[in-house]
Amino acid sequence: MTTASIPPAEPSLSPVLAFHNASIALGGNQVLREISFSVAPGETRILLGPAGVGKSVLLKLANGLMRPDEGSIQLFGKEISRMPEEWLFALRTRVGMVFQEGALFDSLSVRDNVAYQLIQENVPDETIDRRVHKALRFVELEETFSLFPSSLSGGMRRRVAIARALIRQPELLLYDSPTGGLDPVTSTTIIELIIKERDVYKTPSILVTHRLQDAFALCTHRFDEALGRMVPLPKGETDTSTTFLMLEEGKIIFDGSLEELLRSENPFVREFLE
C-alpha cells in the first residue's frame, strides 16, 4: 500500500457520515438518545466514554448493522436508517470496520480473512495475493499470510483486522476499541497503525476508546513516512483533523477539539479526564 495507489480524493464539503437525533433502545433500555454529530472528509473523531455507555452501538448504527428507533443517519449522503438490508451491503463495502476483538473468521486463514471481500467479488487469485501482502505489510504482519487466527496473539489479531478493513481502501473507517484489553506496548503499535492510516491515506474515521492515553496520542503525534514511525508533534501543536466526542448515559455531552476538551467545565468530562 503506497500513497501513489490512492485515488485522488474528490473535494467535498458534505459530511461522510451524519447522525441527526438518532435514538435506540435495546431490551427496553434506552441506549442512545438524540445523537447528532457528523464526520467530515479527512476527519478523525475519537468517541470517548466509560464502558457500557453505547459506544459500540453507535458504531454499529453508523454502518447500518443496527437501526435507530428514531432520528436519521446519513452515510455518504444516503439515508441508511430505513434502507433495506440488501442495499446496505453494497454501501458497507465502502466502509472498513475493526471490531472489538478483531472478529476474524476462525475457519479461514489470515490470507482469506484479509481478502474476504475480494474473494466474494471473484477477484483473481494473483491480484488477491498481491493486495493481501500489501495490506499485511502495512500492519507489519506479512509473515502471518498463511497462518490461522487461532495461532495469533490478541494484538496480531487486531492488526490483521485492520488489514482486512483497509484492503479495499475504504472511504470511512470505524474502529471499535482497537486497543481494548491489550498491553501498553501492543496498544502503542495499534495506535501507531491508526495514525499511519490517518496520515498516509487521510481516510475519515471514528475511533471508539475509553483509554485517554490512546486518544491523546492520536492528537499529539503524526506519522513520519521517511522514518517509518510515529513522531510527536512540536510542543503545543495538535492534529487539527482529530476531534473528540464524549458519551454519557447515551447522550453526547461533548463535541470539540482537544483544547476544548481540556478546557471543558462539564463535571463528567472533568471526572473522566482526571
Partner: protein, 259 residues
C-alpha cells in the same frame, strides 16, 4: 400473577414463530436470487452427507436387525415368520428410515449449525460478515438448508437399504430363515405409495433440521452460555418437530393414496 406470565410466554411464542417464518422464507428465497454460493453448498453437502453416512448406516442396520428380531418373535406365533422381510422393508421405507435418519442428523447437524453460527454471532463474526458487505443469510444459512434437504434424501435411501440388510442378517444368521425368501417378500410387498411416502418425508425433515439449527444459531445471545442454550433448543425443537410433522405427512399421504 399467572395470567401475565402466560400472556408473556404466549407473546414470546408467537414472536418466535413469526421470526422463524420470516427467516425460513428469506433463506429459501435466496436460492432464486444471486449471488448463490454453490461452493458453500458443496462443502455443507460433504459435511452433512458424507459426515453423517457412518452413523446413518449403523443406525439403519441395527434398527433393521431389531425389527427382524422383534417381528419374527410375534409373527412366528401366527405361523407367519416368512413375512419378516415384508414387515422390515415396509417399516423402514415408509417410516423408520426417514424418521431415524432425521433424528440422527438432527442430533449431529442441527446442533453443529446452532453452535457454529451461535459462536459466530457472539464473537461478532456475523456482524463482521455483514460489515464486509456479505449477507450471512445467503452465505451461511441458504447453503446449509439446501445441502441438508438434498443430503437427507440420499441418507434416508442409505438408511432404508442398510435397515433391510440388517433385517436380512438377523433373519439368515440368527433366525435361520431363507434369505431369498426374505428379500423376495421385502421387494414384492413394496408399492409406489410406500416409496413416495418414504422419499417425501426426508425433504421436510431436512428443511426442519437446517432451518431450526440455523435459526437458533443466528439468534444466539448471552455469550458461550447462550451458544449452549441455542444448541439444546435446536436439537430439541427439530427432533420434536420431525416426529410431529411425520405424523401430519403420514396422515396426509395415507388419506391421499387411500383415495
Amino acid at each position: 400473577m399467572l395470567i401475565p406470565a402466560f400472556e408473556s410466554t404466549a407473546k414470546k411464542l408467537v414472536l418466535t414463530v413469526q421470526d422463524y417464518s420470516l427467516f425460513a422464507y428469506r433463506a429459501v428465497g435466496n436460492l432464486f436470487r444471486p449471488p448463490v454460493y454453490w461452493q458453500d453448498f458443496l462443502i455443507q453437502s460433504d459435511i452433512i452427507g458424507v459426515g453423517s453416512a457412518s452413523i446413518v448406516i449403523l443406525a439403519g442396520f441395527f434398527t433393521g436387525g431389531v425389527l427382524a428380531l422383534q417381528s419374527a418373535a410375534t409373527l412366528s406365533a401366527f405361523g407367519a415368520i416368512a413375512m419378516t422381510g415384508r414387515f422390515v422393508s415396509l417399516t423402514m421405507i415408509r417410516e423408520l428410515g426417514a424418521v431415524l435418519t432425521g433424528v440422527m442428523v438432527s442430533g449431529r447437524n442441527a446442533s453443529s449449525m446452532a453452535s457454529e453460527l451461535g459462536s459466530m454471532v457472539v464473537t461478532e463474526q456475523i456482524d463482521a460478515m455483514r460489515a464486509l458487505g456479505v449477507d450471512p443469510m445467503r452465505k451461511l444459512v441458504t447453503p446449509r438448508i439446501y445441502a441438508t434437504v438434498t443430503m437427507l434424501f440420499f441418507l434416508t435411501i442409505v438408511a432404508d437399504a442398510f435397515g433391510i440388510l440388517g433385517g436380512a442378517a438377523v433373519t439368515v444368521f440368527m433366525n435361520h430363515q431363507n434369505g431369498t425368501q426374505y428379500f423376495s417378500m421385502a421387494w414384492e410387498s413394496l408399492r409406489y405409495p410406500d416409496v413416495i411416502q418414504g422419499m417425501v418425508k426426508p425433504l421436510f425433515f431436512g428443511y426442519i433440521i437446517s432451518s431450526i439449527g440455523c435459526f437458533y444459531g443466528m439468534r444466539t445471545t448471552g455469550g458461550t452460555q447462550g451458544v449452549g442454550r441455542s444448541t439444546i433448543q435446536a436439537v430439541v425443537t427439530s427432533s420434536v418437530l420431525i416426529i410431529f410433522v411425520d405424523f401430519l405427512i403420514t396422515r396426509l399421504l395415507l388419506g391421499l393414496f387411500a383415495g
